[in-house]
Symmetry: C3
Subunit: 346 residues, 3 copies
Amino acid sequence: MAYRLGDLAERVGAVLRGDALCEVDHVGQLQSALPGAVSFLANSRYLKHLANTRASAVIISPELADKSPVNALVSDNPYLCYARTADLLHPRPEFEAGAHPSAVISEDAVIAEGVWIGPCAVIEAGSRIDQGVFIGPGCVVGAGSRIGRDCRLVANVTLCARAKIGERVLIHPGAVIGSDGFGLANDRGKWIKVPQLGSVTIGNDVEIGANTTVDCGTINDTCIADGVKLDNQIQIAHNVEIGENTAIAGCAGIAGSTKVGKNCTLAGGVGLAGHLDIGDNVHFSGQSLVTRSFTEPGHYSGNLPAVTTGEWRKTIARIRRMNDMMQRLRVLEKRVEAIDARHKPD
Amino acid sequence: MAYRLGDLAERVGAVLRGDALCEVDHVGQLQSALPGAVSFLANSRYLKHLANTRASAVIISPELADKSPVNALVSDNPYLCYARTADLLHPRPEFEAGAHPSAVISEDAVIAEGVWIGPCAVIEAGSRIDQGVFIGPGCVVGAGSRIGRDCRLVANVTLCARAKIGERVLIHPGAVIGSDGFGLANDRGKWIKVPQLGSVTIGNDVEIGANTTVDCGTINDTCIADGVKLDNQIQIAHNVEIGENTAIAGCAGIAGSTKVGKNCTLAGGVGLAGHLDIGDNVHFSGQSLVTRSFTEPGHYSGNLPAVTTGEWRKTIARIRRMNDMMQRLRVLEKRVEAIDARHKPD
Amino acid sequence: MAYRLGDLAERVGAVLRGDALCEVDHVGQLQSALPGAVSFLANSRYLKHLANTRASAVIISPELADKSPVNALVSDNPYLCYARTADLLHPRPEFEAGAHPSAVISEDAVIAEGVWIGPCAVIEAGSRIDQGVFIGPGCVVGAGSRIGRDCRLVANVTLCARAKIGERVLIHPGAVIGSDGFGLANDRGKWIKVPQLGSVTIGNDVEIGANTTVDCGTINDTCIADGVKLDNQIQIAHNVEIGENTAIAGCAGIAGSTKVGKNCTLAGGVGLAGHLDIGDNVHFSGQSLVTRSFTEPGHYSGNLPAVTTGEWRKTIARIRRMNDMMQRLRVLEKRVEAIDARHKPD
């Protein structure tokens, strides 16, 4: 969709420096954009591409705006401003309401107006789907599920029985919501399944990445609060609770009954043990293993970044020699003690 | 389903202290249960909720039974007793036999009595499905597969060609059984695919979590023995063998041709390298990287739990300074040697 | 399919030592093969099984050929030679062209000759599928996708809108190509979605494992070059570029905008942070966490292999005591300094 820069600036809350009548109709990267495109500079790593950009306009911070060789949309938060701009210039295509003839919809499911149910999707008994929901091809909506307004299940998503999804939730392909938790009791060496009777409650404005799994609770529900963002390939175990606006990157895993607060971030591959209590505003760096509760806001880490394998072998050898060092240090302390005793400056 | 406590105690092998005629019909958590519910105390972390519970009965160990303010179902293994109780009070709904009209079933597949094949499920040629099996919506059962009695494929499960599944196996959504192993031969820099000609053999009473993947063998089969329990998002590579009653938590991965014994546990995120031999009763803690065989029973670990990022930076700096410490220690040893030589108490 | 060893040797580029007329028709493992089978020895770990093999022939290196008790197919690269042999003896079954009646194919999709579209597969509007492609059951091919000649989507694969797939690409069940990248801008504590407008471009001869996810680019495309091999459960984030013939093992994850060169290998569970530049011929060992760019060819590592939990606790304690050691070392240095000052051999 095309906008004049003056109108666009107003819509996205930026201050325009340049030609208000210049028309733009798509977004592009600084280094490859052509006229008609709006680009952005939100990471100083890409500053080197600014001088030669051919974009019609650049979204940029006040500090750097002077360096823009083209029209500037000045914003204190260029990345946010870019997100709004991209939304305006590239609106998601509308979809028609209805159901593909190959969709299988239980007679007692309640489907609101304005819902699309795609080919080979399956809507089981007792589920309720609110207005404006898009159910893509191959999705399964389990018995007794609830899906709030304007949700989008992209394709091949599985909601197990009784999942409760809020409004404007976006779920990517292959995600599984409400699978059984991993509950096992041991009977003289054999594992006996503990029935997983709870479900999953997901708030509003949540995004769930491709092939991410969220298990149902054992008795009560696994709970994902409003505004939580989950990347791909994440595992959320039974009875976990995640607070508002927490964002979790790919390949992270949270074990059973752990609570994560609001506004936390977990970087890629982070693993949280079970039954922990993580407070608000807690941040874990990539691949951290978390084995105890952290209730105070802060940044936490515990991993060793890769170096050359040669250097790494030395590091491991040093760690293994630490006991020996300690031993030699103690011996030396005693000898110095003895020397001092003999040679006191008395 | 409703039971009187006296009958329930008998069925689940507990000793009742209290009112044998009291009726219960569901399970609940200590802190939120209402009358009519049975709760349990299996983890001392939750002892604080016992005094105020409103449940009709609590499953509890003999040591703690005196502290129960309500009827007590006393058991040496409260969690196991709870699992049995939940099974009785919340039996899985029966399903009707038959096939949904949208299911696609090959004419030469052999389907026993009492099988349900759900909407948009696909049963390919030459497969055999035994009595009491439930195939949920969107599942694919590849050509020549065998599924034993009373298995349940929840939804959107993929069995590749020739997979052999035992009895009472439960497979959660998105799991893939029998995908090609990652076998590559190098031809002057280019990777040439090694045909993956084996299959997967899964024993009885196995559970396979959501989005878990089990590759087929290169020539013979990848083998998962009776009673193995796999959580979500696990990767089992080609030719792996896993022994009876081993339980593996989410996000773990086992590389090709590794053998894992019986009664092992792998915590979340554990990674086993290829061609290893892991004995019986071996236990790995979360995110451990296993690069050599461990044939002796025991507990093994190798990861650094997260601390504050500030403290962590110091730890890394210390590790990097170890060489310097060693150097200074050696210098000091020589100096003390020299001092002692000069000042011998001769 | 049956071959005489003389013909087979010629076809796979091996030198035959033995009976050119001996007929073989399948492959087998050294220790379990029966007459009629071709086996191979590519890993010295299995040399112990050579003397007793009952295979009709063994593919083997020149150095070991003398030790074969049966016909030998001598090759400098036995594993590669085995891959070719297995391909010849076990050709993939042909498939018929056409579409299963339950497949849902958009009227304006362009489907070439010789394509099979399986049951419950969905081909959306504007997609183009070239000659010889196999689309298995339950696959979704998103709007505007392109699939080159002779690709195979095994089952339940999801291609999101506008994905571009080269020729001879093999995609295993549950893989998701072109899901939204994890792009979030922060608006006073709330996460705002950054529209993901790019797509995914996949080259020729790529293999993508079960339940692996490849996100679309934010503006331009995520790019996977020719000959790249991805194992199962891998996460490739938006804007990532992977160079030719790079192979990545299971459970690895690559964060957004990172570039990986040609001929690299990432072992299982490796995690690459975002915005990195990894050169050609770079190799990371299992579970390495990579937080900076590595542009030089080489082997890199950073993880601590598991040991007994007892030993591991000591290691952690030692690391925590390092500050104390350093302190004691400094004290000792000063004391020796003082001793030397008092007792100079003047």
